[in-house]
């Protein structure tokens, strides 16, 4: 009874990636057997294991359902074979078919539901599930924060997001990503952040530019604000399976940096300042001339983007406000003491 339900393409890994299977052998056996031969493996407590009963007759219907879906997948795989034999260069069409072929594979469904952090994003089907997940929450949150904080259009006109951007600061050991728009203390932001940029299209060694700008730098002379460039990286190489920009990457690739990291040091009585992180996809390597930034103050981000033909694909944001630690950060980075502004606007 507890032999594997899979007899076709979904248990054949000669042409398919091993990452389409469930890693844990016990869990895999549980998902691929009609019933649960070792009980419910995913339940941890012994008491809940004992209490658990599978739905009636699921063990009879499941193999039939699996067979129907697997046969369907086999047809799609043969279609892909035909396309490849014809020498089709349409990668997108083949990727769409690959998604269609694997989307109902119970092992893939299991991985994308319960092992979302460790899925192999080189596989189109996992990218499909990750994109759905992103669109259901993170994308909306990011766009909402960008719009309500007027980062769009104060920095760039608009954004059609294509990548998921995660950011965290190395100020402590707690591994949590920063939610877009949250207010961070000057201690947290004193060292450069770490990014994770998830692409949902096929990506091999794509080049990216990253800019952090503050559109709220006071311009006392003109009684207005200017934009300051706080960090600029160019030609950052990322792939589907290598999407993190951390200290290891920065250490081994010093050529990424256009402008060194300048931490936020808001001056007193100026309120919250917005720090927008913009991620751009590049066509090729950036031109040395056009990508040079001489003055980080009064930085014209729109001009920079136009001159370098950058395509904005993602963004993130945080806010900073004056706190008691700002002077320490200024001293650390050799900046002059901050000015003090009047409390009320006139």
């Amino acid at each position: 009874m507890s032999s594997s339900v899979s007899r076709g393409i979904w248990s054949n890994f000669t042409n398919r990636s091993k990452s389409l299977a469930i890693k844990s052998a016990k869990l895999q056996k549980a998902v691929l057997s009609p019933d649960l031969p070792n009980g419910p493996v995913s339940l941890k407590a012994l008491s809940s294991k004992r209490k658990y009963y599978s739905p009636i007759d699921l063990d009879k219907i499941y193999p039939l359902a699996y067979e129907i879906l697997e046969k369907k997948s086999e047809k799609i795989y043969s279609k892909i074979e035909d396309l490849k034999k014809k020498g089709s260069e349409n990668v997108e069409e083949i990727n769409d078919l690959l998604v269609e072929a694997e989307i109902n594979n119970p092992e893939v469904v299991y991985n994308s539901l319960y092992a979302a952090n460790t899925i192999d994003l080189t596989q189109p089907v996992y990218r499909h599930y990750a994109k759905k997940q992103w669109e259901s929450y993170n994308k909306m949150i990011t766009m909402q924060r960008l719009e309500t904080l007027s980062i769009i259009p104060d920095t760039l006109p608009t954004l059609e997001p294509e990548v998921d951007v995660h950011m965290k600061f190395p100020h402590n050991n707690v591994d949590t990503w920063v939610e877009p728009g949250s207010i961070l203390s000057s201690n947290v932001t004193s060292k450069p952040p770490i990014f994770k940029i998830t692409e949902f299209k096929e990506s091999k060694n794509d080049l990216y530019t990253i800019l952090i700008v503050n559109p709220d730098t006071p311009d006392v002379e003109n009684n207005s604000y200017t934009t300051t460039l706080h960090w600029a990286l160019k030609d950052v190489e990322l792939s589907n399976n290598d999407s993190i920009i951390d200290i290891q990457k920065l250490d081994s690739n010093p050529q990424y940096s256009i402008v060194d990291y300048l931490p936020p040091t808001p001056e007193k009585n100026l309120g919250k300042q917005r720090f927008a992180v913009w991620i751009f996809r590049q066509d090729g390597k950036l031109n040395e001339e056009t990508s040079k930034v001489e003055n980080i103050n009064n930085f014209q981000i729109r001009e920079f983007v136009e001159n370098n033909k950058l395509q904005a694909v993602g963004a993130h944001a945080w806010r900073s406000v004056w706190d008691l630690n700002v002077e320490n950060v200024r001293k650390e980075y050799g900046l002059p003491a901050g000015r003090i502004f009047s409390r009320d606007s006139f």
């Binding site: 007027s150 050991n173 591994d175 207005s224 200290i247 008691l324 050799g334 502004f341 009047s342």
Partner: protein, 372 residues
């Protein structure tokens, strides 16, 4: 047909009685529902017109409901009064994003047209002065009341933290001197401090769940980052920076080749990955040899020995727990050897639920059924 006279006369008198109006004295008792309900005018309407110059807070429009909506740089009160949020010029305008609404906005310049272009950066006004002199000093020293109240507590906590940190540094120094005499003899006092600081940083990263390699790398990276900052502050030159960072890297590799953290965060001799894995297999084999059958009772000495093997450097905390659960079960499974009779002395009665019969049973376990 003729009527008798008497009848016609009575008829006439009746008609004349009905026809003539008789007014009696009376007073209207009930008033109309809407009588006397007028109120003075509320002086609604525009207070400032197109292109009027206004200051912050000036009222632009009084209204019932939102006949006009607050546009750029305009606020709305609880009775829907529109007022200026920035000094500028009043503009009455329509916005294509809200085709059914009329807006009142404040343009910062007289010639500006509202609404501002949708994809352009918004025109903003700083509206604050840079203070100097006494005012600046007052403002710089000013803290909100809640921060003032909290400040001593914060300082106290900070001092505690610094003390703890210094204590840890001293401990690391002592440990290096005591446990690594070869290393400490080759280090100057300054280098010893540096080594202790490095170990403290690595300790922090390890406690946060980073791997030892990551922790070491991060420590080195951020030390050199700080050196770069001191170069930025013009405290050291570029050449000094380069020599110092290469020196530190050498120093770090020297320390790392000698000292490692055990799973319980104590300092031990460094082991390479291969050494560690071979030690692991060796210890495991030893453990299996020591306790070949986990269902058999063991004596106290064996237990101590097994514990010493498990708690060695070879296994991570997770593996240690796993091994303890496997080899040193607190209660052994029920075998003939470990089950006694009710009549026996020195047996322990245990109430246990039998899942198959769904009844509570009493089981008598001998003393050797439990871990000594």
């Amino acid at each position: 047909m003729l009527l008798p006279d008497s009848i016609t006369t009575t008829k006439n008198s009746l008609v004349s009685f009905i026809k003539c109006q008789i007014r009696f004295a009376h007073k209207k008792v009930v008033s109309s529902k809407t009588h006397m309900q007028d109120s003075p005018g509320k002086r609604l309407g525009a207070k400032k017109y197109e292109n009027h110059q206004v200051k912050i807070g000036q009222i632009l429009y009084r209204q019932r409901g939102t006949k006009w909506y607050p546009g750029i740089n305009v606020g709305i009160g609880k009775d829907h009064t529109l007022f200026a949020l920035q000094p500028g010029f009043v503009k009455y305008y329509l916005d294509p994003f809200h085709p059914k609404r009329k807006f009142i906005g404040i343009a910062l310049n007289k010639d500006d047209k509202l609404p501002y272009p949708h994809f352009e950066p918004t025109k903003r006004r700083l509206g604050r002065d840079v203070l100097d002199g006494k005012k600046a000093e007052f403002e710089a020293n000013y803290l909100p009341r809640n921060v003032q109240i909290l400040q001593p507590k914060i300082n106290e906590e900070l001092n505690k933290r610094i003390e703890k940190r210094n204590g840890k540094l001293l401990k690391f120094k002592d440990e290096i001197k005591k446990n690594f005499p070869n290393l400490s003899s080759s280090l100057t006092e300054e280098q010893l401090d540096l080594a202790a600081n490095r170990l403290l940083s690595i300790d922090g990263y390890l406690r946060g769940g980073k791997s030892i390699d990551d922790a070491r790398f991060s420590t080195t990276y951020y030390y050199i980052y700080d050196l770069k900052l001191s170069n930025k502050r013009n405290e050291i030159s570029i050449d000094e920076l380069n020599t110092k960072s290469s020196n530190y890297k050498e120093f770090a590799s020297k320390i790392d080749s000698e000292i490692m953290f055990a799973p319980d965060f104590s300092l031990t001799k460094n082991l390479t990955f291969d050494e560690l894995s071979s030690l692991k297999t060796k210890s495991f084999a030893e453990l299996e040899k020591l306790i070949p059958d986990i269902t058999k009772p063991i004596n106290k000495k064996t237990k101590e020995h097994a514990l010493s093997i498990i708690n060695s450097v070879a296994f991570s905390l997770k593996e240690q727990i796993k091994l303890k659960r496997r080899f040193l079960k607190p209660t052994l499974p029920e075998t003939n050897e470990t089950i006694g009779n009710a009549k026996d002395k020195k047996v322990i009665a245990i109430q246990k639920m039998n899942i198959e019969t769904r009844q509570v049973e009493t089981i008598y376990r001998t003393k050797n059924a439990f871990l000594p």
